[in-house]
Homo-oligomer: 234 residues x 2
Protein backbone atom coordinates (compact mmCIF):
# COMPACT_ATOMS: atom_id res chain seq x y z
CA UNK A 1 0.00 0.00 0.00
CA UNK A 2 2.56 2.49 1.12
CA UNK A 3 4.47 1.70 -2.06
CA UNK A 4 1.80 3.58 -3.96
CA UNK A 5 2.39 6.85 -2.15
CA UNK A 6 3.49 9.67 -4.45
CA UNK A 7 2.33 12.92 -2.90
CA UNK A 8 2.82 14.07 0.71
CA UNK A 9 0.62 16.94 1.85
CA UNK A 10 1.51 19.08 4.85
CA UNK A 11 -0.88 21.22 6.82
CA UNK A 12 0.77 24.53 7.76
CA UNK A 13 -0.52 26.14 10.99
CA UNK A 14 0.81 24.19 14.01
CA UNK A 15 2.19 21.48 11.73
CA UNK A 16 4.96 23.45 9.99
CA UNK A 17 4.95 26.56 12.17
CA UNK A 18 3.55 28.03 15.39
CA UNK A 19 0.07 29.49 15.08
CA UNK A 20 -2.49 28.64 17.75
CA UNK A 21 -0.26 30.00 20.51
CA UNK A 22 -0.38 33.43 18.82
CA UNK A 23 -4.17 33.26 18.69
CA UNK A 24 -4.35 32.21 22.33
CA UNK A 25 -2.02 35.05 23.30
CA UNK A 26 -4.28 37.49 21.44
CA UNK A 27 -7.31 35.91 23.13
CA UNK A 28 -5.74 36.33 26.58
CA UNK A 29 -5.07 40.01 25.92
CA UNK A 30 -8.68 40.41 24.83
CA UNK A 31 -10.01 38.66 27.95
CA UNK A 32 -7.94 41.10 30.02
CA UNK A 33 -9.49 44.04 28.17
CA UNK A 34 -12.93 42.66 29.03
CA UNK A 35 -12.10 41.87 32.65
CA UNK A 36 -14.11 44.83 34.05
CA UNK A 37 -17.17 43.14 32.56
CA UNK A 38 -16.70 39.37 32.87
CA UNK A 39 -14.25 36.64 33.84
CA UNK A 40 -11.63 35.17 31.49
CA UNK A 41 -13.52 31.87 31.36
CA UNK A 42 -16.77 33.58 30.43
CA UNK A 43 -15.04 35.80 27.86
CA UNK A 44 -13.42 32.75 26.26
CA UNK A 45 -16.75 30.95 26.10
CA UNK A 46 -18.50 33.97 24.60
CA UNK A 47 -15.80 34.49 21.99
CA UNK A 48 -15.98 30.85 20.92
CA UNK A 49 -19.75 31.18 20.61
CA UNK A 50 -19.36 34.25 18.37
CA UNK A 51 -16.71 32.51 16.26
CA UNK A 52 -18.87 29.46 15.67
CA UNK A 53 -21.83 31.67 14.78
CA UNK A 54 -19.71 33.57 12.24
CA UNK A 55 -17.81 30.58 10.81
CA UNK A 56 -19.97 30.13 7.73
CA UNK A 57 -19.89 33.84 6.90
CA UNK A 58 -16.33 34.79 7.92
CA UNK A 59 -14.38 31.54 7.56
CA UNK A 60 -10.95 31.03 9.14
CA UNK A 61 -8.07 33.41 9.74
CA UNK A 62 -6.97 36.47 11.68
CA UNK A 63 -9.39 39.01 10.19
CA UNK A 64 -12.35 36.74 10.92
CA UNK A 65 -11.02 36.20 14.45
CA UNK A 66 -10.69 39.91 15.15
CA UNK A 67 -14.13 40.74 13.76
CA UNK A 68 -15.53 38.10 16.12
CA UNK A 69 -13.57 39.57 19.02
CA UNK A 70 -15.02 43.03 18.34
CA UNK A 71 -18.53 41.60 18.07
CA UNK A 72 -18.09 39.71 21.35
CA UNK A 73 -16.89 42.87 23.13
CA UNK A 74 -19.98 44.72 21.92
CA UNK A 75 -22.42 41.93 22.71
CA UNK A 76 -21.29 41.00 26.21
CA UNK A 77 -21.09 44.65 27.33
CA UNK A 78 -24.36 45.53 25.61
CA UNK A 79 -22.52 48.22 23.66
CA UNK A 80 -21.03 49.76 26.78
CA UNK A 81 -17.44 48.91 25.81
CA UNK A 82 -15.34 52.03 25.16
CA UNK A 83 -13.97 52.95 21.74
CA UNK A 84 -10.47 52.88 23.24
CA UNK A 85 -10.92 49.12 23.87
CA UNK A 86 -12.02 48.59 20.25
CA UNK A 87 -8.96 50.56 19.20
CA UNK A 88 -6.75 48.24 21.26
CA UNK A 89 -8.40 45.24 19.56
CA UNK A 90 -7.52 46.68 16.14
CA UNK A 91 -3.92 46.95 17.36
CA UNK A 92 -4.06 43.29 18.48
CA UNK A 93 -5.21 42.40 14.96
CA UNK A 94 -2.25 44.07 13.32
CA UNK A 95 0.15 42.51 15.83
CA UNK A 96 -1.32 39.06 15.12
CA UNK A 97 -0.86 39.53 11.36
CA UNK A 98 2.73 40.65 11.89
CA UNK A 99 3.87 37.78 14.14
CA UNK A 100 7.13 36.10 13.12
CA UNK A 101 6.95 32.66 11.53
CA UNK A 102 8.62 30.10 13.81
CA UNK A 103 9.15 26.66 12.28
CA UNK A 104 8.45 23.67 14.51
CA UNK A 105 11.35 21.45 15.51
CA UNK A 106 12.59 19.14 12.74
CA UNK A 107 10.46 20.62 9.94
CA UNK A 108 13.30 22.10 7.89
CA UNK A 109 15.22 18.78 8.13
CA UNK A 110 12.39 16.54 6.99
CA UNK A 111 11.48 18.87 4.10
CA UNK A 112 15.11 18.96 3.01
CA UNK A 113 15.28 15.17 3.08
CA UNK A 114 11.98 14.84 1.20
CA UNK A 115 13.31 17.16 -1.49
CA UNK A 116 15.87 14.46 -2.37
CA UNK A 117 13.22 11.72 -2.52
CA UNK A 118 10.76 10.80 -5.26
CA UNK A 119 7.80 12.16 -3.30
CA UNK A 120 6.06 15.31 -4.45
CA UNK A 121 5.50 17.58 -1.46
CA UNK A 122 2.57 19.97 -1.27
CA UNK A 123 1.18 22.33 1.35
CA UNK A 124 -2.57 22.31 2.04
CA UNK A 125 -3.74 24.99 4.43
CA UNK A 126 -6.97 26.74 5.22
CA UNK A 127 -7.35 30.29 6.32
CA UNK A 128 -6.90 33.73 4.93
CA UNK A 129 -5.27 33.75 1.49
CA UNK A 130 -2.99 36.77 1.96
CA UNK A 131 -2.08 35.85 5.54
CA UNK A 132 -1.09 32.28 4.65
CA UNK A 133 0.95 33.51 1.66
CA UNK A 134 2.71 36.00 3.87
CA UNK A 135 3.57 33.30 6.42
CA UNK A 136 4.88 31.02 3.69
CA UNK A 137 7.06 33.79 2.29
CA UNK A 138 8.46 34.54 5.75
CA UNK A 139 9.06 30.84 6.49
CA UNK A 140 11.99 30.24 4.13
CA UNK A 141 10.61 26.82 3.24
CA UNK A 142 8.48 27.76 0.22
CA UNK A 143 11.04 26.21 -2.14
CA UNK A 144 10.33 22.71 -0.80
CA UNK A 145 6.74 22.62 -2.04
CA UNK A 146 5.74 21.58 -5.56
CA UNK A 147 2.32 23.07 -5.01
CA UNK A 148 0.66 25.33 -2.46
CA UNK A 149 -3.07 25.05 -1.94
CA UNK A 150 -4.87 27.52 0.28
CA UNK A 151 -8.46 26.36 0.78
CA UNK A 152 -11.46 27.84 2.54
CA UNK A 153 -12.21 24.53 4.27
CA UNK A 154 -10.81 20.99 4.54
CA UNK A 155 -13.79 18.73 4.13
CA UNK A 156 -13.79 15.52 2.07
CA UNK A 157 -15.14 17.39 -0.96
CA UNK A 158 -12.27 19.92 -0.71
CA UNK A 159 -9.67 17.15 -0.78
CA UNK A 160 -11.44 15.39 -3.67
CA UNK A 161 -11.34 18.62 -5.70
CA UNK A 162 -7.69 19.23 -4.84
CA UNK A 163 -6.57 15.72 -5.82
CA UNK A 164 -8.52 15.91 -9.08
CA UNK A 165 -6.83 19.18 -9.88
CA UNK A 166 -3.41 17.64 -9.22
CA UNK A 167 -4.38 14.55 -11.26
CA UNK A 168 -3.70 12.10 -8.43
CA UNK A 169 -5.92 9.51 -6.81
CA UNK A 170 -6.38 9.29 -3.02
CA UNK A 171 -4.40 6.02 -2.70
CA UNK A 172 -1.30 7.94 -3.78
CA UNK A 173 -1.80 10.69 -1.21
CA UNK A 174 -0.75 11.01 2.42
CA UNK A 175 -1.62 14.06 4.49
CA UNK A 176 0.34 15.15 7.58
CA UNK A 177 -1.19 17.51 10.11
CA UNK A 178 -2.03 18.40 13.68
CA UNK A 179 -5.80 18.31 13.23
CA UNK A 180 -7.47 14.91 13.10
CA UNK A 181 -10.66 16.60 12.00
CA UNK A 182 -9.24 18.66 9.12
CA UNK A 183 -6.05 16.88 8.07
CA UNK A 184 -6.56 13.17 8.73
CA UNK A 185 -10.21 12.08 8.92
CA UNK A 186 -11.42 13.50 5.57
CA UNK A 187 -8.35 12.12 3.74
CA UNK A 188 -8.81 8.62 5.23
CA UNK A 189 -12.51 8.74 4.38
CA UNK A 190 -11.83 9.32 0.68
CA UNK A 191 -9.27 6.50 0.54
CA UNK A 192 -6.01 8.29 1.31
CA UNK A 193 -3.48 8.05 4.14
CA UNK A 194 -2.98 10.24 7.19
CA UNK A 195 -0.33 11.06 9.77
CA UNK A 196 -1.50 12.84 12.89
CA UNK A 197 1.09 14.88 14.74
CA UNK A 198 -0.70 16.52 17.67
CA UNK A 199 0.39 19.99 18.72
CA UNK A 200 0.27 20.99 22.37
CA UNK A 201 -2.24 23.69 21.52
CA UNK A 202 -5.17 22.77 19.36
CA UNK A 203 -8.15 25.03 18.81
CA UNK A 204 -11.35 23.65 20.40
CA UNK A 205 -13.05 23.74 16.97
CA UNK A 206 -10.54 21.20 15.60
CA UNK A 207 -10.84 18.61 18.37
CA UNK A 208 -12.10 15.14 17.55
CA UNK A 209 -11.26 11.49 18.35
CA UNK A 210 -10.17 8.65 16.10
CA UNK A 211 -8.55 5.26 16.55
CA UNK A 212 -5.18 4.53 15.01
CA UNK A 213 -5.20 2.21 11.99
CA UNK A 214 -1.74 0.92 11.22
CA UNK A 215 -2.61 0.36 7.57
CA UNK A 216 -3.51 3.94 6.73
CA UNK A 217 -3.37 6.18 9.78
CA UNK A 218 -0.40 6.80 12.07
CA UNK A 219 -0.02 9.02 15.08
CA UNK A 220 3.46 10.42 15.74
CA UNK A 221 4.96 12.65 18.40
CA UNK A 222 7.78 14.21 16.41
CA UNK A 223 7.96 14.96 12.70
CA UNK A 224 11.20 12.94 12.42
CA UNK A 225 9.08 9.77 12.84
CA UNK A 226 7.71 10.44 9.36
CA UNK A 227 11.01 9.05 8.04
CA UNK A 228 10.24 5.47 9.03
CA UNK A 229 6.62 5.68 7.83
CA UNK A 230 7.80 6.86 4.41
CA UNK A 231 10.87 4.60 4.57
CA UNK A 232 13.02 7.60 3.72
CA UNK A 233 16.16 5.98 5.10
CA UNK A 234 15.96 2.82 3.07
CA UNK B 1 -1.85 36.25 -33.33
CA UNK B 2 -5.39 35.83 -32.18
CA UNK B 3 -5.32 32.37 -33.72
CA UNK B 4 -3.04 31.30 -30.91
CA UNK B 5 -5.56 32.10 -28.19
CA UNK B 6 -6.54 29.08 -26.13
CA UNK B 7 -7.50 30.32 -22.69
CA UNK B 8 -9.87 33.17 -21.81
CA UNK B 9 -9.66 34.52 -18.27
CA UNK B 10 -12.48 36.49 -16.71
CA UNK B 11 -12.17 38.79 -13.76
CA UNK B 12 -15.20 38.38 -11.45
CA UNK B 13 -16.14 41.51 -9.43
CA UNK B 14 -17.76 44.08 -11.75
CA UNK B 15 -16.88 42.01 -14.80
CA UNK B 16 -19.16 39.01 -14.20
CA UNK B 17 -21.28 40.40 -11.37
CA UNK B 18 -22.07 43.57 -9.42
CA UNK B 19 -19.64 44.35 -6.62
CA UNK B 20 -18.36 47.91 -6.30
CA UNK B 21 -21.88 49.31 -5.98
CA UNK B 22 -22.38 47.19 -2.84
CA UNK B 23 -19.15 48.55 -1.38
CA UNK B 24 -20.16 52.11 -2.24
CA UNK B 25 -23.57 51.55 -0.66
CA UNK B 26 -21.85 50.28 2.51
CA UNK B 27 -19.50 53.25 2.39
CA UNK B 28 -22.42 55.70 2.12
CA UNK B 29 -24.09 54.17 5.17
CA UNK B 30 -20.81 54.49 7.05
CA UNK B 31 -20.39 58.16 6.05
CA UNK B 32 -23.91 58.75 7.39
CA UNK B 33 -22.97 57.13 10.71
CA UNK B 34 -19.99 59.49 10.93
CA UNK B 35 -21.92 62.59 9.87
CA UNK B 36 -21.99 64.08 13.42
CA UNK B 37 -18.20 64.22 13.18
CA UNK B 38 -17.29 65.01 9.57
CA UNK B 39 -18.67 65.48 6.05
CA UNK B 40 -19.25 62.62 3.61
CA UNK B 41 -16.39 63.85 1.44
CA UNK B 42 -13.97 63.93 4.36
CA UNK B 43 -15.13 60.52 5.61
CA UNK B 44 -14.61 59.02 2.16
CA UNK B 45 -11.12 60.49 1.95
CA UNK B 46 -10.20 59.25 5.42
CA UNK B 47 -11.51 55.74 4.72
CA UNK B 48 -9.51 55.53 1.49
CA UNK B 49 -6.42 56.63 3.40
CA UNK B 50 -6.95 53.88 5.99
CA UNK B 51 -7.57 51.28 3.27
CA UNK B 52 -4.37 52.16 1.44
CA UNK B 53 -2.40 52.06 4.69
CA UNK B 54 -3.78 48.60 5.49
CA UNK B 55 -3.59 47.15 1.97
CA UNK B 56 -0.34 45.26 2.45
CA UNK B 57 -1.47 43.78 5.77
CA UNK B 58 -5.18 43.15 5.13
CA UNK B 59 -5.40 42.68 1.36
CA UNK B 60 -8.68 42.92 -0.56
CA UNK B 61 -12.21 41.91 0.37
CA UNK B 62 -15.10 42.67 2.67
CA UNK B 63 -13.45 41.78 6.00
CA UNK B 64 -10.47 44.00 5.20
CA UNK B 65 -12.85 46.78 4.18
CA UNK B 66 -14.86 46.60 7.40
CA UNK B 67 -11.75 46.50 9.60
CA UNK B 68 -10.59 49.66 7.83
CA UNK B 69 -14.01 51.25 8.34
CA UNK B 70 -13.85 50.55 12.09
CA UNK B 71 -10.31 51.91 12.29
CA UNK B 72 -11.36 55.06 10.41
CA UNK B 73 -14.30 55.62 12.76
CA UNK B 74 -11.97 55.37 15.76
CA UNK B 75 -9.25 57.55 14.27
CA UNK B 76 -11.31 60.46 12.97
CA UNK B 77 -13.35 60.70 16.19
CA UNK B 78 -10.26 60.25 18.38
CA UNK B 79 -11.98 57.26 20.01
CA UNK B 80 -15.12 59.24 20.78
CA UNK B 81 -17.32 57.14 18.48
CA UNK B 82 -19.95 55.16 20.39
CA UNK B 83 -19.96 51.36 20.63
CA UNK B 84 -23.44 51.38 19.08
CA UNK B 85 -21.90 52.83 15.89
CA UNK B 86 -19.26 50.08 15.85
CA UNK B 87 -22.07 47.60 16.31
CA UNK B 88 -23.87 49.04 13.28
CA UNK B 89 -20.64 48.71 11.27
CA UNK B 90 -20.46 44.99 12.17
CA UNK B 91 -24.02 44.67 10.89
CA UNK B 92 -22.99 46.44 7.64
CA UNK B 93 -20.20 43.86 7.32
CA UNK B 94 -22.58 40.93 7.53
CA UNK B 95 -25.01 42.57 5.13
CA UNK B 96 -22.20 43.13 2.63
CA UNK B 97 -21.13 39.47 2.82
CA UNK B 98 -24.73 38.35 2.31
CA UNK B 99 -25.54 40.50 -0.76
CA UNK B 100 -27.12 38.66 -3.68
CA UNK B 101 -24.99 37.93 -6.72
CA UNK B 102 -26.35 39.82 -9.72
CA UNK B 103 -24.81 38.89 -13.07
CA UNK B 104 -24.04 41.73 -15.45
CA UNK B 105 -25.97 41.95 -18.70
CA UNK B 106 -24.93 39.40 -21.33
CA UNK B 107 -22.57 37.39 -19.10
CA UNK B 108 -24.60 34.18 -19.00
CA UNK B 109 -25.00 34.29 -22.81
CA UNK B 110 -21.32 34.75 -23.62
CA UNK B 111 -20.26 32.05 -21.16
CA UNK B 112 -22.81 29.67 -22.63
CA UNK B 113 -21.52 30.38 -26.14
CA UNK B 114 -17.88 29.98 -25.04
CA UNK B 115 -18.73 26.60 -23.52
CA UNK B 116 -19.42 25.34 -27.06
CA UNK B 117 -16.14 26.73 -28.42
CA UNK B 118 -12.61 25.36 -28.21
CA UNK B 119 -11.53 28.01 -25.71
CA UNK B 120 -10.82 27.04 -22.11
CA UNK B 121 -12.50 29.54 -19.82
CA UNK B 122 -11.10 30.38 -16.40
CA UNK B 123 -11.96 32.85 -13.65
CA UNK B 124 -9.18 34.91 -12.07
CA UNK B 125 -10.26 37.01 -9.13
CA UNK B 126 -8.61 38.63 -6.18
CA UNK B 127 -10.14 39.11 -2.78
CA UNK B 128 -11.25 37.05 0.13
CA UNK B 129 -11.13 33.30 -0.58
CA UNK B 130 -14.34 32.28 1.18
CA UNK B 131 -16.26 35.35 -0.01
CA UNK B 132 -15.33 34.83 -3.67
CA UNK B 133 -16.19 31.11 -3.45
CA UNK B 134 -19.54 31.98 -1.93
CA UNK B 135 -20.29 34.46 -4.72
CA UNK B 136 -19.33 31.92 -7.37
CA UNK B 137 -21.60 29.30 -5.80
CA UNK B 138 -24.49 31.76 -5.69
CA UNK B 139 -23.88 32.91 -9.29
CA UNK B 140 -25.07 29.75 -11.10
CA UNK B 141 -22.24 30.11 -13.63
CA UNK B 142 -19.58 28.01 -11.88
CA UNK B 143 -20.07 25.18 -14.39
CA UNK B 144 -18.71 27.35 -17.24
CA UNK B 145 -15.21 27.58 -15.79
CA UNK B 146 -12.50 24.99 -16.31
CA UNK B 147 -10.50 26.51 -13.51
CA UNK B 148 -11.08 29.03 -10.74
CA UNK B 149 -8.13 30.97 -9.40
CA UNK B 150 -8.54 33.22 -6.38
CA UNK B 151 -5.38 35.24 -5.90
CA UNK B 152 -4.23 37.72 -3.27
CA UNK B 153 -3.08 40.16 -5.95
CA UNK B 154 -2.98 40.56 -9.73
CA UNK B 155 0.50 41.74 -10.51
CA UNK B 156 2.60 40.48 -13.42
CA UNK B 157 4.29 37.90 -11.17
CA UNK B 158 0.87 36.56 -10.11
CA UNK B 159 -0.18 36.03 -13.73
CA UNK B 160 3.16 34.40 -14.58
CA UNK B 161 2.72 31.91 -11.71
CA UNK B 162 -0.87 31.19 -12.72
CA UNK B 163 -0.03 30.53 -16.38
CA UNK B 164 2.88 28.29 -15.40
CA UNK B 165 0.58 26.31 -13.17
CA UNK B 166 -1.92 25.90 -16.02
CA UNK B 167 0.92 25.00 -18.41
CA UNK B 168 0.10 27.76 -20.89
CA UNK B 169 2.23 30.55 -22.27
CA UNK B 170 1.07 34.20 -22.26
CA UNK B 171 0.58 34.35 -26.06
CA UNK B 172 -2.25 31.83 -25.64
CA UNK B 173 -3.98 33.83 -22.93
CA UNK B 174 -6.49 36.66 -23.06
CA UNK B 175 -7.84 38.30 -19.92
CA UNK B 176 -11.17 40.14 -19.75
CA UNK B 177 -11.89 42.57 -16.94
CA UNK B 178 -13.08 45.95 -15.76
CA UNK B 179 -9.75 47.01 -14.24
CA UNK B 180 -7.02 48.17 -16.59
CA UNK B 181 -4.59 48.06 -13.71
CA UNK B 182 -5.32 44.53 -12.49
CA UNK B 183 -6.81 42.70 -15.45
CA UNK B 184 -5.25 44.18 -18.59
CA UNK B 185 -1.92 45.94 -18.02
CA UNK B 186 -0.05 43.11 -16.24
CA UNK B 187 -1.25 40.54 -18.80
CA UNK B 188 -0.17 42.72 -21.77
CA UNK B 189 3.17 43.33 -20.08
CA UNK B 190 3.96 39.62 -19.87
CA UNK B 191 3.00 39.05 -23.51
CA UNK B 192 -0.67 38.17 -23.29
CA UNK B 193 -3.87 39.81 -24.57
CA UNK B 194 -6.40 41.98 -22.79
CA UNK B 195 -9.97 43.15 -23.14
CA UNK B 196 -11.04 46.09 -21.02
CA UNK B 197 -14.72 46.38 -20.26
CA UNK B 198 -15.14 49.42 -18.00
CA UNK B 199 -17.81 49.32 -15.32
CA UNK B 200 -19.66 52.47 -14.36
CA UNK B 201 -18.27 52.14 -10.85
CA UNK B 202 -14.58 51.50 -10.43
CA UNK B 203 -12.79 51.71 -7.10
CA UNK B 204 -10.30 54.63 -6.99
CA UNK B 205 -7.50 52.16 -6.22
CA UNK B 206 -8.02 50.42 -9.58
CA UNK B 207 -7.93 53.53 -11.79
CA UNK B 208 -5.21 53.92 -14.39
CA UNK B 209 -4.86 54.99 -18.02
CA UNK B 210 -3.71 53.09 -21.08
CA UNK B 211 -3.90 53.49 -24.83
CA UNK B 212 -5.74 50.96 -26.95
CA UNK B 213 -3.54 48.66 -29.04
CA UNK B 214 -5.56 46.88 -31.70
CA UNK B 215 -3.08 44.01 -31.85
CA UNK B 216 -3.37 42.93 -28.24
CA UNK B 217 -5.63 45.23 -26.27
CA UNK B 218 -9.26 46.05 -26.95
CA UNK B 219 -11.72 48.22 -25.10
CA UNK B 220 -15.38 47.23 -25.31
CA UNK B 221 -18.59 48.64 -23.90
CA UNK B 222 -20.66 45.47 -23.72
CA UNK B 223 -19.52 41.92 -23.13
CA UNK B 224 -21.28 40.80 -26.35
CA UNK B 225 -18.50 42.58 -28.31
CA UNK B 226 -16.16 39.84 -27.13
CA UNK B 227 -17.79 37.64 -29.80
CA UNK B 228 -16.20 39.49 -32.69
CA UNK B 229 -12.80 39.74 -31.00
CA UNK B 230 -12.77 35.98 -30.44
CA UNK B 231 -14.50 35.37 -33.81
CA UNK B 232 -17.04 33.23 -32.02
CA UNK B 233 -19.60 33.61 -34.79
CA UNK B 234 -17.40 32.39 -37.60
Amino acid sequence: MKDHLQVIGFDADDTLWLNESYYQETGQKFYQLLSPYLSCEEAEKELFKTEMGNMELYGYGAKAYILSIIETALRVTENRVGANIISEIITLCKELLNKPVVLLDGIADILEQLSHSDYRVIMVTKGDLLDQERKLNKSNIAQYFHHIEIVSDKKESDYIKLLERLSITPEHFLMVGNSLKSDVLPVINIGGYGVHIPHEMTWAHEKTEMEERPDRFWKIEHISELRSILELNK
